[in-house]
C-alpha cells in the first residue's frame, strides 16, 4: 500500500471499486454538499469533489472535501492546473492532506472560455501529467518542486482522467502511458457510451501492459432524456455518443426516457465488468445524484466491501 486511501485498498483487494462525484455549491453554505454526500453513503467507495468545474466559481474542492471527510466518507480531491501555479497547488495538497484527504485526481481543467469567468487568465503553469508527477515526487521522493525536502510528505493516492474518445484516437493509449510513466495510480475515464470504441482502447491498454500498472475506473453517466443525449453528442467536446444510443433514447416515450437512460448505463456496466483491466466504475449522475444508489444496487455492486 502506498497510501491510507480506502479507494486504494478496495482496488488492491481485487474487487470492483465504485466512485461518484459531488459538485461544491456556488455559495458559502455547505449544506448542499453534505446532503449530496449523504445520499451516497454506503453505496460508493469514494466521492470526487470537483474543482471549479466547467470553469465556474464554486466553493473550493479541498474545503468541500473536509466536510465530506468529517462525515466519515472518503473524498477525492480534484485539482485543475488552470487556476493555480505550482506553489499554490503544493500548499493546497499539504493542507488537504493535513485534513486527512489522501486521494486526489489531477486534471488540466476546462478552459476559462467555457465558464463564467472567460476574462480570467488561465494559469497552466503545469499540465495534468506534470501535476501527477509533482504529487508523486511529493509522496515518494518527499521533495517540493524547487528541490527542498518536505517535512512529513503527503501520501496521496494519485488519480488522473483519460478520455479514450478524443482525437487523435491513436494517441489516446500513448497518453495514458505517459500518465502511468508520470506515476498515476488510478484512472477515471470519460463517460462511456461508445462501448466498442472503449473496448478497442482497452485492447491497446492491455497490449502495452498498462492495465497491470494502473487501476482503471470506467466512467458511467446515465442520460435523463433524449435532449441530454443530443446535447452530449453535439455540444460537449470529447464526448462520443453513437447514433444508436440517441435513437434508442428517442424510441421510447418521454416519460420513460430516464429509465431507458439508466438501463443503458446498467447494460454498459454489465458489459464492462467482463473487460480485463476495468477495475471499477466512476458513476457521475449529473444533477441526478439521488439515482446513484439505485444504480449501484441494480448493477449488483452492493454491498460495498469493508476494507
Amino acid at each position: 500500500m502506498k497510501t491510507e486511501s480506502v479507494l486504494e485498498k478496495v482496488l488492491a483487494s481485487g474487487q470492483m471499486a465504485v466512485t461518484s462525484e459531488c459538485g461544491p455549491p456556488r455559495g458559502s453554505v455547505p449544506d448542499k454538499i453534505i446532503e449530496k454526500a449523504n445520499l451516497l453513503k454506503g453505496y460508493v467507495d469514494a466521492i470526487n469533489v470537483t474543482d471549479n468545474q466547467t470553469a465556474m466559481v464554486r466553493m473550493s474542492s479541498w474545503s468541500s472535501c473536509i466536510f465530506i471527510k468529517q462525515m466519515g466518507l472518503n473524498p477525492i480531491l480534484q485539482m485543475v492546473t488552470r487556476d493555480r501555479n505550482r506553489l499554490a497547488m503544493q500548499s493546497d495538497i499539504l493542507g488537504a492532506y493535513a485534513h486527512g484527504i489522501n486521494t486526489m485526481l489531477c486534471l488540466s481543467g476546462d478552459h476559462p472560455k467555457f465558464g463564467d469567468h472567460p476574462m480570467a487568465a488561465g494559469v497552466y503553469d503545469l499540465d495534468s501529467i506534470q501535476l501527477v508527477r509533482m504529487v508523486k515526487d511529493m509522496r515518494d521522493e518527499g521533495k517540493f518542486q524547487g528541490g527542498a525536502d518536505i517535512v512529513n510528505p503527503p501520501k496521496m493516492f494519485i488519480g488522473a482522467a483519460a478520455n479514450p474518445f478524443a482525437d487523435p484516437f491513436e494517441l489516446r493509449v500513448a497518453r495514458l502511458a505517459k500518465k502511468v510513466k508520470a506515476g498515476v495510480d488510478f484512472i477515471q475515464t470519460q463517460c462511456i457510451y461508445n462501448v466498442d470504441k472503449f473496448e478497442k482502447w482497452m485492447e491497446g491498454v492491455r497490449e502495452r501492459g498498462l492495465h497491470k500498472q494502473v487501476y482503471i475506473l470506467a466512467g458511467i453517466t446515465p442520460m435523463k432524456s433524449v435532449g441530454m443525449a443530443k446535447y452530449m453528442k453535439n455540444k460537449v467536446p470529447g464526448m462520443d455518443v453513437p447514433d444508436e444510443v440517441v435513437k434508442r433514447m428517442s424510441s421510447v416515450p418521454k416519460e420513460k426516457q430516464a429509465e431507458e437512460g439508466i438501463k443503458i448505463a446498467l447494460e454498459t456496466i454489465e458489459r464492462l465488468k467482463g473487460v480485463e483491466g476495468v477495475n471499477g466504475f466512476h458513476i457521475m449522475a449529473i444533477e441526478w445524484e439521488e439515482k446513484v444508489p439505485e444504480m449501484v444496487e441494480r448493477a449488483g455492486l452492493l454491498p460495498r466491501p469493508q476494507v
Binding site: H111, D127, I129, Q130, A166, D167, G238
Partner: protein, 222 residues
C-alpha cells in the same frame, strides 16, 4: 513578426480630443507588413480623425510621419525637428515603438493607436496567427516544429487534452489543435516515439518568469 490591430476610432478620438496639433506616426516594419500602421493606415487614420473633429467644427492639425523603424533611437531622433509644434503624439507602431518615442520625448504625451497583439506568421493575405510566445527556451526541436505553448489553448506540454476533436481545439472550432499538428508532424518525421517521452514541468525563468528581459551581445555592445 509583431502583429497589431488599430484601436477603435472612438478611443482614439477621445485620446486626441484635448489637442489641436497631433503628430501621427507610422512604422515601416512589422505594423506595415501586418497592415496596421504603415503609411497607408496613417493616412486613413489622419483622414478619419480630421473628419471626426471637423464635423464638430474643430480643425485638427495632423502631421503624418512614417519612420523606417520606431523601436530604434536613431530613427526616432528624426522626429526631433517636428516635435516642437506637436501637442501630442499618436503612434501606430507596436508597443515597442510607442515606448521608444515616449522615452525620447519626455515632455510629449504619446498615445498608442494600435493594440499590439502577438508574434505571428501570415497564413495568407490578410490573415495572421500566433506562433511564438517568446518563452525563452525553445522546444520546437522536440515538438515537431509546432509550439504547444503558443498554439495550445492550455499550453499543454504532454499531449492533447480530452477536448481535441477532429483536429480542432475545443476552445474554437476554427482553431487547430496544436497537439494534433504536432502528432501529424512527428508521424511524418517518423518520430512517433518522441511523443512517449514525458516533458517535465517547464522552467519559466527564461520567459517572463524572471521579470523584463534583456539581451546583451557582448561583442556588439562593448
Amino acid at each position: 513578426m509583431i502583429t497589431a490591430e488599430r484601436k477603435p476610432l472612438s478611443e482614439l478620438v477621445e485620446c486626441v480630443r484635448p489637442y489641436g496639433r497631433i503628430l501621427l506616426l507610422g512604422c515601416n516594419e512589422c505594423v506595415t507588413v501586418c497592415a496596421a500602421g504603415g503609411r497607408k493606415e496613417v493616412g486613413l487614420l489622419a483622414s478619419s480623425l480630421k473628419m471626426a473633429f471637423s464635423k464638430d467644427g474643430k480643425n485638427l492639425d495632423i502631421k503624418e510621419i512614417t519612420l523606417e523603424r520606431q523601436c530604434d533611437p536613431e530613427y526616432v531622433e528624426e522626429l526631433a525637428p517636428h516635435m516642437g509644434e506637436a501637442e501630442a503624439v499618436l503612434s501606430m507602431a507596436c508597443g515597442c515603438g510607442v515606448q521608444e518615442v515616449a522615452r525620447r520625448f519626455m515632455d510629449k504625451p504619446v498615445f498608442p493607436a494600435v493594440n499590439t497583439k502577438f508574434m505571428g506568421a501570415s497564413e495568407r493575405q490578410g490573415i495572421w496567427s500566433e506562433r511564438c510566445a517568446g518563452c525563452g527556451d525553445c522546444v520546437l526541436g522536440i515538438t515537431g516544429g509546432i509550439c504547444p505553448i503558443a498554439r495550445c489553448s492550455k499550453q499543454l506540454m504532454n499531449g492533447p487534452c480530452g477536448g481535441s476533436s477532429g483536429g480542432k481545439c475545443e476552445v474554437d472550432a476554427e482553431m487547430d489543435c496544436a497537439w494534433q499538428l504536432i502528432w501529424d508532424r512527428l508521424k511524418a518525421l517518423g518520430l512517433e516515439k518522441r511523443y512517449e517521452e514525458n516533458m517535465p514541468a517547464k522552467d519559466w525563468r527564461p520567459g517572463r518568469g524572471a521579470g523584463p528581459r534583456k539581451i546583451i551581445r557582448e561583442d556588439l555592445a562593448r
